[in-house]
């Protein structure tokens, strides 16, 4: 830098990157601190109490957490949640990528197709639950009707402890695909035409253009969707609540549903909060790992 008067310290501070950064994030941080961080802190306190959400509570230290380590129902819930997540995330993100590429073209009716993919997203969970309960009814449901028509055996679906969780996967993939698709669609707009044209001129096939240009450029969006889908999958609740209520025989009891039962059916508010905290720590660890992998593997154009 050329000779310059150094401005006074306060001006340097205000002009600095640090001040600018914090100024920009200030409104968001204030809002999130008030409406998220404070309640999160509050529920941490509750997790250290024997609290039935009504009468005054007393502190019990880490007793709730100790009880969790010995709770077989909690372990089952963890198992169900992990199984669900491990299937849901790749299927929904991968499926959405394929669908977004298909939807990103100018053929007749494309607007209608995009709207159709968006529809399940706006359908309320209650309505979605009802549709699937009907579709998968063991006696009168449409899916069993189709199976019967092609000679396959009737399934119990949501009434079968071995099948119910997979039905929930199908239901949530169907419901959430549109979300991932519109994020990918938006990201696809940022893939420069020139790169693809140049590659085509060079003789690259459609598939290799997709694999070597489009997919890497969609890295940031993919990372976002994987992280977001994982965070959501680990907190699955609504779809369980409107269909199986954690059954049959507890086979669809996922962690947040178990938390809900403890807090609002058994009035164990402290225990429920402890479950939430363990889940929170687990999600945090998983997310940090994903972000770290992403840092190494995801390509940002800047």
């Amino acid at each position: 830098m050329a000779d310059r008067h150094r401005p006074p310290a306060i001006k340097r501070l205000i002009g600095s990157e640090h001040f600018a950064g914090w100024a920009f994030v200030a409104p968001a941080v204030i809002l999130i601190a008030i409406f998220f961080l404070i309640p999160i802190g509050w529920s941490l306190l509750i997790s250290l109490q024997a609290n039935n959400l009504i009468a005054p509570a007393h502190y019990v230290g880490l007793a709730n957490y100790k009880a969790l380590t010995k709770d077989p129902a909690f372990r089952s819930a963890i198992g169900h949640t992990l199984l669900y997540t491990v299937i849901f995330v790749p299927v929904s993100v991968g499926g959405a990528l394929a669908l977004a590429v298909a939807l990103n073209r100018k053929i007749r009716g494309i607007r209608f197709y995009r709207l159709a993919v968006f529809v399940p997203l706006v359908t309320s969970t209650v309505a979605t639950g009802l549709v699937f309960l009907w579709l998968l009814d063991p006696t009168f449901g449409f899916v069993n009707y189709l199976l019967h028509a092609v000679g396959l055996p009737q399934q119990q679906f949501l009434q079968d402890p071995n099948e119910a969780l997979y039905c929930i996967v199908a239901m949530t993939v169907w419901g959430w695909l549109g979300f991932d698709v519109i994020v990918y669609l938006a990201a696809l707009q940022g893939v420069p035409e020139e790169l693809l044209e140049a590659a085509e001129i060079d003789g690259a096939s459609k598939w290799s253009r997709f694999r070597s240009i489009v997919v890497p450029l969609l890295g940031p969006a993919t990372l976002f969707l994987v992280v977001w889908s994982t965070i959501n999958a680990l907190q699955l609740f609504d779809e369980i609540y409107v269909t199986t209520r954690g059954g049959p025989l507890g086979s669809t009891t996922v962690i947040v549903y178990y938390l809900y039962q403890q807090a609002f059916q058994f009035f164990n508010g402290g225990y429920g909060s402890a479950i939430a905290y363990v889940l929170f720590l687990a999600i945090l660890v998983v997310t940090l790992v994903q972000l770290w992998v992403g840092r190494r593997r995801v390509y940002y154009t800047s």
């Binding site: 640090h18 600018a20 950064g21 914090w22 920009f24 409104p27 968001a28 941080v29 809002l31 999130i32 008030i34 998220f36 961080l37 309640p39 509050w42 509750i46 669908l99 990103n104 100018k106 007749r108 009716g109 494309i110 607007r111 209608f112 197709y113 709207l115 159709a116 993919v117 529809v119 706006v122 359908t123 309320s124 309505a127 979605t128 549709v131 009907w134 994020v183 669609l185 938006a186 696809l188 707009q189 940022g190 035409e193 450029l217 940031p220 969006a221 990372l223 976002f224 977001w228 609740f237 947040v256 807090a263 889940l279 929170f280 999600i283 945090l284 997310t287 940002y300 154009t301 800047s302």
Partner: protein
């Protein structure tokens, strides 16, 4: 970027082969909407039948006006509109500011702060319900649309998503502007945001949809039925036994239409036509 089928290939089908994939997928996706629409045009007995009746005896459009009048539908719409529009505006503004800082400004504690904000997405709402209620109550906003809005004015979701998008933008434009002396705020509003319309439109759609479909928070915070937004209001049509499905579905279909309309409108921004990419 929009891909066309290459014109020189001879078509074996009279239409693009993509229809073979998209049509069945679209059909599967809209099954419930069709089903709800059919139910909304049936009589109460038909609508409660199981197995369901697909061909109603007649088209009872009167269900729609009945649903509208059975509950203060106009109020529900207005409350939902205020709630959704305010949260969209708030998120677009506050998340853009924050995401830009996370994407482009190196400031002290940036990474830790980002993780802290992201962490707020990781706690299920069931445990935050009561504390959030107590805070809104302290602010004196119980049973008001304002009480619906303020906790949702800015969430980490938008910050995370926009940060990812901003980072994909070529930094040269911004660096050039800085050298020209443009302020950071100016860069954000004159360069970054106009290039990010698809991402902003996506955030707007998603936030609109979340607010429009929100049920649990409105239930906790609203007491008077004229202050209720749509999903809460519609739940008064849903009995634990003996629901009038035809009315409920008519109400539900009416409540979906604005979201679908918002989506159609916003498509203009998040699917750019080729002509628009000439921004460089």
């Amino acid at each position: 970027m929009v891909l066309d089928a290459p014109p020189e290939k001879r078509r074996r089908l009279p239409f693009s082969p993509w229809h073979l994939l998209l049509a069945p997928v679209a059909a599967i996706m809209i099954v419930p909407l069709i089903w709800m629409a059919v139910l909304s045009l049936e009589t109460k007995t038909e609508a409660s039948s199981f197995p369901p009746v697909f061909l109603p005896s007649g088209l009872h459009f009167s269900n729609y006006s009945s649903a509208w009048h059975a509950v203060p539908f106009g109020d529900f719409f207005l409350n939902s509109a205020a709630y959704s529009l305010a949260t969209v505006a708030g998120n677009l503004l506050f998340c853009s500011l924050a995401a830009y800082a996370f994407a482009r400004i190196r400031f002290f504690g940036r990474n830790v702060l980002f993780v802290v904000l992201l962490a707020t997405l990781m706690v299920p709402f069931q445990v935050l319900l009561i504390p959030t209620f107590l805070i809104v109550k302290k602010l004196g906003m119980v049973d008001s649309v304002g009480g619906l809005i303020v906790p949702n004015l800015c969430t980490a979701f938008g910050i995370f998503m926009l940060r990812q998008f901003f980072r994909t933008l070529p930094i040269e434009l911004e660096e050039a502007a800085r050298l020209d002396g443009t302020s950071r705020l100016g860069i954000l509003f004159k360069i970054v945001l106009p290039l990010s319309l698809p991402a902003l439109a996506t955030l707007a759609i998603i936030q609109f949809m979340w607010s429009w479909n929100d049920f649990l928070w409105p239930l906790i915070i609203i007491n008077t039925d004229t202050h209720a937004p749509l999903q809460l209001g519609l739940s008064t049509l849903q009995g634990s036994h003996n629901t009038e499905w035809n009315l409920l579905m008519a109400g539900t279909v009416m409540s979906q239409i604005p979201m679908l309309a918002v989506f159609l409108l916003a498509q203009r921004w998040f699917i750019r036509s080729i002509a628009f990419t000439g921004i460089k």
